[in-house]
Amino acid sequence: MRESQQFKHVLSNGIVVLGETMPWLRTAAFSLQLRAGSAYQPVGQNGLAALTCEMSERGCGEYGNREFLEATELLGAHTSNHVATYHIGYSGSCLSENFGPLLALYAQLSRRAHLQVNEFEPALLVCQQELHSQEDDLPQQTLRLLRQQYFGPTLGQWPDGDLAELPGITYDAVSDYYQRHYRPAEMILSLAGNFDWSATIERIEALWGDWHGGETSRLATPPAEVSYQHLEESSQQTHIALAAPSVPFGQDDYFLIRCAVGALGDGMSSRLFQEVREKRGLCYSVFAGIHSLQDSACITSYAGTTAARAQETLDTMVVEFARLQEGITEEELQRIKTQVRTGLMAQQESCRSRAGAMASDWFYLGRVRTREEINAELNRLTVPRVNQYLADHPIRITSLVTVGPAPLELPDGVCQL
């Protein structure tokens, strides 16, 4: 079997192109990241990034709105866009023979979006529709409130926007945001799958090489406030989300805490799943994970349960958070290592997820980790190291959000200074 190869090329305008060839596939994928995410929006304009993203897809270069979509569909491309905290991202995959033309379409979109005035109204409605629909998704609403509460008014903004702020956003603001943030200086373009690296780089130079501008900026994170917030809803279930400070991805201790959180709430044998769902039958869904930004991160955990059993669910979750300080077991650590290794191999089957992982590595770490490097990192993780870390850094739950018919009582030590 032909092996994969990794490549990197930086254009003179600052665009970083990352590549990994996977010659056993029939398809290729790209991930294009522009530094235009929700954290860069001016205060009171949450939705500007989402609206700009929506407008960008409504015609560019020689294509009108409909022509652009049809052109991607004729290439059989599977495309999507995504507004996140730091980036607006576009990704796409298609059969290898159509990969070059697909990149050409997205070069037009990133550089020459029409932003037609007559598309503004429908684009605004699309963004509003998306937010309206999320109102019926109470688990998501709960996690959204937690995110805002924990990460504060800039970084904690919900990337899809805010229904109250959207109507105040003008066409000129969108046009200005596009001009300012769709720039090459911090753009990341990652490519994975079956494609020819040198021919593709030549094409990329031709498509993006004569584009200029942009500046680098790093956003500071304010310290999280300690608080409990309850949103009243006449739902059958009470939704519980809580957060505790953690170490961001890219810092030395990240993998130590990642292992601990894996033992706590990742998978069916995790402590939360076992204690809350399996032993007590309190809920259908319960999990914990790490939400990491550039300079800050938190452990988040969610459970949804019928209102009458919500207090017992919260109390059980809190007990499991506290018990983590006593450490994890060898079996738990091995399990997490196997999960990470399986995830790595799964990326080798999907060029879409590989392209996404490469772009993320570059943004957070400034390099793309090889499989060997990750395996070496895994081998260095030991139970004594994880447990020493947990003993030295007790986990404190500082943020709690509940959505449901009635608020809950705060267990000892939760949301207290």
Binding site: M1, L25, R26, T27, N65, R66, L69, E70, E73, L74, G76, A77, C94, L95, E121, P122, A123, L124, L125, V126, C127, Q128, Q129, E130, H132, S133, E135, D136, E233, S234, Q236, Q237, M268, S269, S270, Q274, R277, E278, K279, R280, G281, L282, C283, Y284, S285, G304, T305, T306, E331, Q334, R335, T338, Q339, T342, G343, M345, A346, Q348, E349, S350
Partner: protein, 413 residues
């Protein structure tokens, strides 16, 4: 790629799609047990039983099952539908033996009283959870209204009453019937050690009790038309669900019908998309196919703000009427074919998808078409075929369910 099929003495069929380029091994048991097989008093038993297979076997406790699945890094799950229950896992190739042993063990659950009672609560939570998510609560209601007394009208989750009233004894009897090896298929795809697989499965399943199961009756579907309203006070959006006739899993017109549905209501680039989504009038406007052995349905779903609900509905109905007059063009067909074919090829790169495709095909048809063969079937569809399916499956005969925060604004005719 190497496809092969085998049949053990106990009737269990094994199908394999071995591909050395894949990095993972995916395996799944496909059981012909679903809502259509349930007597009314056991409504929801297939799904409840699926949960119980994770709750303990003669060799393992629930905790041990979950722990071992996680130890193997298994991306494991199960799903129950109208006509089947599937248990599947994807692992590193080195864990093939262990995962096959574990999944096989899970197919013979203990059904202990204590676990049964705890799991009953989890299922009741699951029913409550879906009821908090408006369109899902409506799904079972409209299926019941459309299919009425036909077995496809039975809710997969069951009802609060049927689940509360269920007993381990009733479930055990159902299990003895439906989980007979002759009623199951084991599919494996990705990187597979075939000789090892055959040897393991033979050994692991030879003690399984064999039941004499009559073949499933295929009663013809008579869809029931009508209009109903479901009031969900906490809903912020309005939703419309609609069912109309579609081809069954055995209908040769299903490829043309899928393309026609795509032209009309795919979530991007379709007629619905340009009038309802691109304009920002609706949040969701999409049409999907549900194909079953005894019949099929076209399910349309709309979601929008209450103030736009009427306009969205009128536009939808107009586009529906127009679809049989302004027939699809060559260009529309070409776009739908390009999308379908690329999606198929791309999905086929993952071991897990290959396993699903293989297992579903084999347990439905007893044969396997490779991705290239299926691509060819899509390529061959002509505009004449599209016209024929539009005539064969008229949307005039339909069941409509409005879901919204109040009954009044839902009653647009």
């Amino acid at each position: 790629m190497a496809f092969a099929n085998y049949k053990l003495n106990n009737g269990l069929e094994i199908v394999v799609d071995d591909n050395p380029h894949c990095q993972l091994t995916a395996v799944g048991y496909f059981v012909r047990a679903g809502a259509v097989d349930e007597p009314a008093e056991l409504s929801g038993v297939s799904h409840f039983l699926e949960h119980m297979c994770f709750k303990g076997t003669p060799h393992r406790t629930a905790l041990e099952i979950n722990q071992q699945l996680d130890d193997l890094g298994a991306n494991c799950n199960a799903r129950t539908g109208e006509e089947s229950t599937v248990y599947h896992a994807t692992v590193l190739p080195e864990f093939q033996g262990a995962i096959v042993e574990l999944l096989s063990d899970m197919m013979q659950p203990t059904l202990a009283e204590e676990d049964f009672v705890t799991e009953q609560q989890v299922i009741l939570e699951e029913i409550a959870m879906y009821r908090d998510q408006p369109p899902y609560g409506g799904h079972e209601q409209i299926m019941t209204s459309y299919f009425a007394s036909h077995p496809l009208g039975q809710p997969v989750l069951g009802t609060e009453q049927s689940v509360s009233a269920m007993t381990p004894t009733g479930m055990a009897a159902y299990h003895r019937q439906r989980y007979s090896p002759s009623n199951m298929v084991l599919a494996a795809a990705g990187r597979v050690d075939v000789p090892q697989l055959l040897q393991d499965v033979e050994r692991l399943t030879k003690h399984w009790p064999v039941a004499n199961l009559p073949p499933r009756q295929r009663t013809t579907v008579q869809g029931h038309s009508g209009r109903q309203t479901l009031v969900v006070p906490q809903a912020n959006q309005h939703y419309v669900l609609q069912l109309s006739p579609g081809p069954s899993l055995h209908d040769p017109d299903r490829y043309a019908a899928r393309l026609a549905a795509m032209i009309f209501g795919d979530d991007t680039g379709s007629r619905l998309f340009w009038e309802l989504i691109d304009t920002g009038l609706a949040d969701v406007a999409a049409v999907g196919h549900y194909e079953y052995e005894s019949g099929g349905v076209l399910m349309s779903m709309l979601a929008t703000r209450p103030e736009d609900a009427e306009e969205v509905w009128e536009t939808f109905e107009r586009l529906e009427r127009e679809f049989s007059d302004k027939l699809p063009t060559e260009r529309e067909l070409q776009l739908a074919q390009a999308k379908s074919i690329a999606a198929l090829c791309s999905a086929n790169e993952l071991s897990e998808n290959r396993m699903f495709d293989l297992g579903s095909q084999w347990s439905t048809y007893g044969e396997f078409k490779s991705v290239d063969e299926v691509v060819e079937l899509y390529r061959r569809v002509t505009l004449a075929d599209i016209r024929r399916v539009i005539e064969r499956f008229p949307t005039t005969h339909k069941q409509v369910l409005w879901i919204g925060p109040d009954g009044e604004s839902c009653s647009a005719e």
